[in-house]
Amino acid sequence: MRALLILCIAGLAAAQSDSWLTYHGDYSGRRHSELSAITPANVAQLKQVWRFQTGQNQAIKASPILKDGVLFLTTPDNIWAIDARTAKELWHYTYPPNNAFHIGHRGAAVYKDTVYLTTPDCHLIALNAKDGKVKWDVIIADSKKGYWSTNAPLIVGNHVLVGVSGDFDNVPGQLKSVDADTGKTQWIFYSTPPPGATEPKSGGATGGQMWTTGTYDPALNLVFVGTGNPTPVLNGKNRPGDNPWTCSIVALNPDTGKLVWGFQASPHDTHDWDANEIPVLVDANFNGQPRKMLMQASRNGFFFVLDRTNGKSLLTKPFAAVNWATGIDAQGRPIPDPAKEPSRDGVLVAPNEAGATNFRPPSFDPVSGLFIVNAQDGYGIYFYKPEDGSYGWAGADYNITGRSFIRAIDYRTGGIAWSHPIGDGAGTAGVLTTKTGITFTGDNSNNLLALRTIDGTTLWHDPVGRMQNAPIMYELDGKQYVLMGAGSSLYAFSLP
């Protein structure tokens, strides 16, 4: 394998070994562990050391947070503090019953001695990390208007950045910054015009929700967040133009919430292809030149490499079956084919609504330069007729079928280095890579997998169940742990 020059700067330092402080482990979104005890040579000896059962209907879709030996795990309305060595429950907080969508929860956030939990009905709860007592409870958005939240907040300085969801209604996309100590609102960034505002550039689109956790570059002082699809969802006729900043990556100043730049992954989306996939930050050479890059494998089937100082495109290449673009424009954006907009008689589109990938996090391995993502070659049929109106979904779409793979993308070329089949349908497991050359992920048949990062060969597997998020990794008392949620259980594996 060719040697790579990966520049390490303080701002993008890897996660600390004894903690997992953000959804991604660190600010970069690379989900890459520097721990070295588990290697390709001994990974087959991994054994389950504990299991934590939530007892909930909802599968675990969260990445746990680890601080001071305590894991914080969430499902909708619930957060647990768990001893990271033994899985003993330290406390459990349950939010009162509420009637917003309970579709999943992506995790908590920590700051000093406070843990933050978003709720389905768009509250942000601050809890004492020691005992789970509520410190304060603020409303982030009006759930009666159609917002809900599954968001794992991102904390930058004293800013708690909280996103919401909502594409069943024509509501603007909003990301709110809340004071970590007091719960007071610091700013709101709207990806589409706020209620009452007129801003012709958006073309009348609403939506563009920021429901996944962003990444942060301290040196540039920029937060990077993916935005969701426009509304009405499938009816693009009533919202002409590109509909910025929906289906985009936006770079925001975390102190002011002001947009510094935006890049649209899907201009004028009509297929529900949120660009909420993790914007992964990498410092390395590109075409022989050191670059501060941002990489995203997007739901629309394209892999993007951007210069994150300015949002300019460095590379755009499909990484899965794609039939909706006629080319790439001068800005590096796919050009949507008008013939693939939803129609009365239906159009056959790749990817399908589930996407070429989705919210489950990818990983970037700085050793090999491979960006590893759960990818689907999928097909769907999309319908829209004027009778469907211009509110909410405004059309219909149906999955036909798909086949999924763990794919390794060489960021320098966008080429696929390897593609490991994981079964039919959309994959649901995220990815973590290690410095020692292991890729942890899952297949569609309930197997937690350890693959060799360089070529995708299987090294180990364990049938844990259906996985809905990505592994995390940490070391305590010299013992290295791999954690993965499956169904309603969280599993920890370690070497004997």
Partner: protein
């Protein structure tokens, strides 16, 4: 990477078999493949009528509406007519057959984990309220005739049946016959269901299962309909209807999957081809 090699061999073998003779689409006993694509939406079929008309107190329906939105609404839509990924419940055969929860209670308690639907452990009163709301919605939609996500058969009638026949003869006749296995197909499936069936057959009646041929270390060869298949093990349903599981590292195997030709075709169809073939199949009444 024997796995890849075996799949490649299987694909070649499948192509050879398909060229020679298409297996008839015989229904296969046993559980449908767990990881298959979601069942086709029956949106363009008539709404199955409620077997036992039933009414519920308004207050219970209102409570059910709230609980439904929170627990079910994202996938099935706030009004039960379908959301992201979940089917329209007003067209559900289980809902149609249900009488005051006799079918839905056990269904909700078990969930369909293979399709992403969790088992619901709700209080009895919440469960009753949700069932009341679903039936109330179904009664309303039966009265108005059609859900939000409806695709009418007339919407799909843009193709040219003659050109569809030409395409069919060139691409589909390797495995199918308009006077053989597909005779009368338009009587069994209409509208969206027919379109979905032609693109990738799933649902009922189940399409033919892939056939697996497995050579054991002893040299013994076993074959039968594929029951499960992942990276590490393969299972067939034997003649007695019993599932036999093998570790892939212990055997050699090949899989003849007639549906792989459907998958490959998805990358080739233009929308016109798709609509033309649909128009042709719609003539096979």
């Amino acid at each position: 990477m024997r796995y890849i090699v075996c799949i490649a061999a299987a694909t070649l073998m499948a192509a050879a078999l398909l060229t020679a003779q298409a297996p008839p689409a015989a229904p296969v006993k046993g559980k449908a493949k767990a990881k298959a694509a979601p069942a086709q939406s029956p949106a363009s079929r008539p709404i199955p009528p409620t077997a036992t008309p039933q009414t519920y107190p308004i207050a219970q329906v209102q409570t059910g509406s709230q609980r439904f939105v929170g627990q079910c609404g994202f996938c099935h839509g706030r009004d039960t007519t379908g959301g992201e990924g979940g089917p329209d419940l007003t067209r559900s055969e289980i809902v149609a057959a249900d009488n005051r929860g006799d079918k839905l209670r056990p269904f909700l308690a078990a969930g369909r984990p293979d399709k992403g639907m969790p088992a619901f452990k709700l209080s009895n009163s919440d469960l009753t309220a949700i069932i009341a709301f679903i039936h109330d919605q179904k009664t309303k939609f039966e009265a108005v005739g059609g859900g939000r996500r409806d695709v009418e058969a007339a919407d799909l009638a843009s193709g040219n049946a003659n050109e569809g026949k030409t395409y069919f003869t060139a691409q589909c006749a390797r495995c199918h016959s308009a006077t053989g296995d597909l005779a009368g197909i338009a009587g069994k499936f209409q509208g969206l269901a027919l379109l979905q069936r032609l693109l990738y057959p799933t649902g009922r009646p189940a399409p033919a299962r892939p056939k697996a041929t497995i050579t054991l270390a002893s040299g013994q060869v076993v074959s039968g309909p594929l029951a499960t298949d992942d990276e590490f093990s393969i299972a067939i349903t034997d003649a007695a209807g019993v599932r036999q599981v093998f570790e892939k590292r212990d055997v050699k195997f090949s899989i003849d999957d007639p549906l792989s030709a459907h998958f490959d075709e998805l990358a080739k169809y233009t929308d016109k081809d798709m609509h033309d073939v649909y128009a042709f199949l719609a003539t096979l009444k």
